[in-house]
Amino acid sequence: MSATVTRAMARTLVARLPDWDRDDVAAFAPVLDALDLLTPYVEVLEPGAVAVPLRPGAGDEAAFCETLIDTISALTDQDCVTGVADGLFAAVLAAREGRLVPAGGDAAFLAGHPIDALTATGLVEAEVCETLRHLGIETLGAFVALPGQAVAERFGPLARRAQHLAAGRLARPLTPRPADPDLTVAETPDDPYGTIEQAVFAARPLAERLKTVLDERNLTCTRLTITARTVSGLIRERTWQVDPSASTADLARRVRWQLEGWGIAARGAATEGEDGVAVLALAPGGLIGLLEAGKGLWDAKNATTARAEAALRHTQTLLGPEAVRVATATDGRDLTERAVETAWEVEAPPPPASGPWPGALPDPPPAFIGDDKPVTVLDVAGAPVTVAARGDLSATPALVVSGGKQTRVVAWAGPWPVHERWWSEESRRYARLQVELADGSAALLACEGGQWKAVGWYD
């Protein structure tokens, strides 16, 4: 005696966020976290659309959809539309309308859809749909009715697969999203590390463990978070960019630098000796596959540059990430506006200078930024020189008094008036003057609000 057991087909639920307009997978993570509360199996179709497999007979589908919509709107403040059908393609179309297609009703549900819906399979271009429409094939039902061989001959194998999908066959199983594995490695010694050297000694095997864990998964990391917890409960943590091709020795060296950097910071605090390191942990971040990481090596970054960048990162570890700075020329008219210094690899540099700035000082700029101390400009008679409203001086400058020292003006040029952003609150009005003094120095002076300042010194 034999019995045939027919397993009921799994059903598919597709949830779409109609207002989702970002193409960013990372921003979608909160929505996925909310979904994880309801179901462990979620496949992300694209940012803003997910598919969930439903077991048949597991409960009321409509009630589950309600719960899902409520959860998402409550936790992420996003509207959500759901559709349930047997196959994924039918469920995607059902999610556009928010419908529950009864079991076995996929073919009938799909048949009524216009032919343009075929693009949702991702197999067929919009032009093919257009051609089909011109041929008089207006609905998916009519497309399914075409002889399969003719479709394959005329439009190729992809259109043939799309025809199968439109007929409600060929439903692929969903692949659930892999959970983020916890790749952090930590070392908890029996006796806390009393000195930095002991912790540094432990860093090498820890880095080796991290590398093994990542290698097993064919991954490598572009960020490394170093965490040290002391006996007294103080937690120090810092994340570093690392080269994806960094070896165990490089990682260990980075940990050593970081620990030494913290040691230097604690030099004055006089806590060393009492407060040992109880837990040392390394967490990888920015995981990428080893294959992509290998491609990065073929970039223009040669060994010398890599070595120089390693040295700069070492300096950052010792003095803090803000200490290594790179200057960029950017938009602006004033000296200080035109040059921006950003912390290297920590802050994003400003956009480069985008166009001509009429009224900006032509090269060469002063080599030193002035200390903004007020100076006095005097004429031959000893009377202060001022800038008139029309942009000329009240008299020929003859002396510059700075810090009680009088220096004769040998040559000068200007003034060049600037009146900027007169339409807004940040409106500024000042005039600039270049002077060469008798002691051989040259300065850039600015007069704002009747007060002269040395804004820069040439050197």
Binding site: A311, L312, H314, V324, V326, D363, P364, E436, D459
Partner: protein
């Protein structure tokens, strides 16, 4: 696991394995280049006007710039223009208050200059870390004790990092010491009796004296920011600097 990745990468990039390569043919006359002869490892290319002042025609091991003379900052930026434009990372440790666009005007590629904020004992820490890798670094000599300076020089020589001493205190034995004997500003006029001065500061002429450890020396006029085209202006846009590896 790792071999699988290597094989996949090799297949994707179309690489051949070493076994498939033809054996290298020996030099026809059996000549092999001895290791001692050949280009020195770390001579950084500099602009042609600076090259005349340096013993090997490029920036090499230890150079000093007398900080107290006027125009020294302009000379420093001109010195670093060549290496940064050739793509070498240069670091300037503990010289605050400099205006970076002056460096750019002298020809420096700002994307390759790291300005390191450091003062007091941190200067020695930073310089020690940088000596492991950057192509050239500028360090104020009064930030280090003479013993620290000697150690740093030895360390930099080992790793091939060029040290440029910003000589706020004399250092012993640099390969070349550059001193601005005279700096002259061009473009400003006397404008006597006027209320609006014509002209603008548009160039600077530095008379630089170089003294070499080998006993020789050179004098040259350097125009870091401009001058008369065809006579003393080095066109950095057209000029191709040497390859730096």
């Amino acid at each position: 696991m790792a071999t699988g990745v290597a094989a996949a990468l090799a297949a994707e990039l179309g690489l051949r394995s070493a076994a498939e390569l033809r054996p290298a043919t020996a030099e026809p006359d059996g000549f092999t280049r001895p290791a001692a002869i050949g280009p020195a490892r770390n001579i950084l290319p500099v602009t042609p006007d600076i090259a005349a002042l340096l013993p090997l025609g490029g920036l090499h091991s230890v150079t000093a710039i007398t900080a107290s003379s006027r125009g020294a900052t302009s000379l420093l930026w001109r010195l670093l223009a060549g290496p940064t434009r050739a793509g070498a990372w240069c670091a300037v440790v503990g010289l605050p208050g400099r205006y970076p666009l002056a460096a750019a005007a002298a020809g420096v590629d700002l994307g390759r200059i790291a300005l390191v904020d450091a003062s007091g004992p941190c200067i020695a820490d930073a310089a020690g870390a940088l000596a492991e890798g950057v192509a050239a670094m500028v360090v104020p000599s009064d930030g280090l004790t003479p013993a620290q300076a000697r150690r740093l020089t030895a360390r930099a020589r080992r790793s091939g990092t060029v040290i440029v001493w910003w000589e706020t205190r004399p250092v012993a034995g640099p390969d070349a010491r550059l001193d601005v004997a005279r700096a002259r500003w061009r473009g400003l006029r006397e404008n006597a009796g006027r209320r609006w001065g014509a002209g603008r500061l548009n160039a600077c002429e530095l008379e630089v004296a170089a003294r070499w450890r080998s006993g020789g020396g050179r004098r040259a006029r350097i125009w870091p920011y401009g001058g008369e085209p065809g006579r003393n202006v080095v066109d950095l846009r057209e000029h191709r600097l040497g390859e730096y590896q």
